[in-house]
Chain length 534, copies 2
Amino acid sequence: MSDTQPVEGRAQNRQTAESMAARQREISISEFFSKNRHLLGFDNPQKALLTAVKEAVDNSLDACEDAGILPTIKIGIQQLAEDRFRIAVEDNGPGIVKAQIPKIFGKLLYGSKFHTLKQARGQQGIGISAAGMYGLLTTGKSLSVTSRTGEEKPAHYYEIQIDTRKNAPQIITDKVVEWDPPHGTRVEIELIGTYKKGRHSVDDYVRQTAIANPHCEIFYTAPDTEEVLHLQRGSDQLPPEPREIKPHPYGVELGVLIRMMKESSARQLSAALQRDFSRVSGRVAVEICKAAGLNPNANPHTIVVHEAERLFRAINGVKIMSPATNCLSPIGEEQILAGLRKEIAADYFTAITRAPAVYRGNPFQVEVGLAYGGRLQSDDLIDLLRFANRVPLQYQQSGCAITKAALGIDWRSYGLSQSKGALPVGPVVLFVHIASVWVPFTSESKEAVAAYPEIMRELRLALQECGRKLATHIRAHRRAVDEEKKKSYIEKYIPHIGIALREILGLSEKAEKQVVVTLKDVLERSRSREHIED
Amino acid sequence: MSDTQPVEGRAQNRQTAESMAARQREISISEFFSKNRHLLGFDNPQKALLTAVKEAVDNSLDACEDAGILPTIKIGIQQLAEDRFRIAVEDNGPGIVKAQIPKIFGKLLYGSKFHTLKQARGQQGIGISAAGMYGLLTTGKSLSVTSRTGEEKPAHYYEIQIDTRKNAPQIITDKVVEWDPPHGTRVEIELIGTYKKGRHSVDDYVRQTAIANPHCEIFYTAPDTEEVLHLQRGSDQLPPEPREIKPHPYGVELGVLIRMMKESSARQLSAALQRDFSRVSGRVAVEICKAAGLNPNANPHTIVVHEAERLFRAINGVKIMSPATNCLSPIGEEQILAGLRKEIAADYFTAITRAPAVYRGNPFQVEVGLAYGGRLQSDDLIDLLRFANRVPLQYQQSGCAITKAALGIDWRSYGLSQSKGALPVGPVVLFVHIASVWVPFTSESKEAVAAYPEIMRELRLALQECGRKLATHIRAHRRAVDEEKKKSYIEKYIPHIGIALREILGLSEKAEKQVVVTLKDVLERSRSREHIED
């Protein structure tokens, strides 16, 4: 305790610049997030359990896909006491080299994905260490990791605690163990949590993960059962591998441009532009320099602010090819349909994948799937399933761009009923996926997507396209119902007309039958003509 | 570029554990937030301008109040180009000592408030450096600071840029300058922004700040005017000075308890409990140790997990006084009324300040003010003004505990109309303030409060209390209106009855007048009897 720190209960002196200075100090990122754990999705025990499972599964799926391995994930939740659980997530991925294990699991802001422009579930290097930190905070127990990188390699077992003051791992146990799998990683965390069924549950997360990742096999053991739920693969195809790209010049900001030029490994301005950016050819680089009134052979390291400003304006004035989009790996219409059909008992399905677009220089892509009718409830609000880079988003629905876009659509014109400012009512499951090299989440807990205008636009267009398909289906369905109704009217009333005619005109029974047949025929024909002319 | 980094356009090799390891590295907190700037409130140019002003003003007000100085704040926004602004915020605070300036303005997660349990506007040590970082990113320009700590001291002028890779300040200019004010700080930032009027504007922020801080004098120059808006003090009283407290044992988590004991400066368990926690007397400390089956004289540094678990359970089983609440500085009913009356043209005002309560060990306090009628619009949704530690919250209304609590109230029982799931409709401005030693914001941009159950409960109770007061007023007001209406009916129709009676009964004009007076009198009396029996 420094001598400027006031003693509780005693009258405090007002602060001066000097006494304030004595109290100023650095805050470690781990301290920051341990006090702000709700930012990471650990704000209540139910969410904490879900978040911990989710972070571990995200890492497992990313690792498997990066290594070209069809993922098989085992998720187990064991209840130790009323509010205490031990979660275990095991994958058949490539494993983690020994030296990296402590940092990956015991240090916040550490990883391989942050500086990479390529679609991945993880992006910040926070998630799994934060889950371990939450476990440590609430139970005092270490996170444990077992990992093996190949059949000829030993399996390593670690017990790790994060030192929050230093944001650094503290290794409690480090040993070689016997472990059967030829390669893979197993993470275990003990934590205070709550297990519940329903909307925000781990069960629901597992089901939604299976829908959006049909190539993944999952074994799931919930805490209240002995049974292992086996979710089989719907597809043996790995998703197309996303490629890493460099930043696109249109998305760069002035300050970033200055830094990139100063740090470039190139010695000439035009070479720096070519090397550090995507889609900049030699010709385009020279064109940019010319438009900026700068020498293409100038040293990029000595660029000053007003020159950079000219360069910045020139970039945005020169025509540059759109960014490559093979950094993205959308689910695809077929796979979305397969996922929905597998899990949802509806009778109409449709899906669309939009072409890639760009926000702030980051390529992204929107996909929408829709299931209608069947056993879905007609008088409830529609069920909106949100996904980002194949990960289900289960919280903060109202703050999410996906919800905002869905609320902004006039669903009544597509045949659903809708109150102002609410989701429509109808037997619909709406599946919305955003894939991007950098999903702009509204918080580190990655629960909702920020409403960038470009993203809102793509969402709107995709939802409208699906809406139109739905409207066509509903109209056709209504017409079929209407026709059925008309047909039944004809069949119901014509015999009575026949009887009346017989009585009035004194027809024979045979003549009556003929009249009835003729009448039916005429009416059927007029009905179908009506239909054709519709 | 490392050799494992794939080259764009060329087929990528699938990753192995080794190739992944080569790509893993540390991420600086500045890099993290520069890529995630929307987390800090810099997601679009309009919000960026507001956030930058807000962060600077928060710091100024905190500094003045800590030093016991009645704040006078000058806010200027100068438009340099269509989307480029230079903001300047100057205070009459205690100033900042020279050595601290670069870190306070050029390093994220640096400050005096994070480790302190005491109500303040700032708490994370991020805001103002982030504003400077945003300015640098978008314009390449340094943040500039002028500060002076006393009349005999020189004024220091700095130009600072944040080095995002290192999260460290880079000093561009450092000199002594002539500056008139005897003490205070002036910050200037050039940034890309948008200036708009209305709900989310700087203008609105200034107005709301004046309402919640009647002791503060503000001079504000908007970019579209030459005029200086002078918001005068409504009060010459500084708010009561909040005192710093230590954590309360009931709010501590097991992992934190372990760390506190290991790091305690005390050598005996019971002394550690007394020294490091609030409200633990010698007697209580011994009682806790006894309940845990631990020796009060044991060394706290050698505590192991299962002993700590026993200690943790014992703490929650022993009766300990509630935390001291002089760490809070509520606005108070009188000042809320003064603020509302000063700025809002209504004809009914009410306010209530709840007693302090505790969430996760953190004292907090809820206050609600309400203005009704007058020139406020009757057919719009009510205007909800949210505040945390006297700072207006202008974004993320739907994600905020305050909004959720307001939506959860049945306002129809208090005389307003309300659709399901919406705010009520009526001529109402609703002012809600949460004061806490640690406001649990839903994001670093501090725009919305997380819905902890204890906070929701206090909000609900405060809103209901204000609602009941409003209901009483509305009922009384309606009765007056109804009476007025009845009275006007009487005055309107009785003369006609008089005329009719004269014609039917052949009365004289005088008799007619008398009949009219008598009738009026009888009806007035029956009306007021009705009223009494109501």
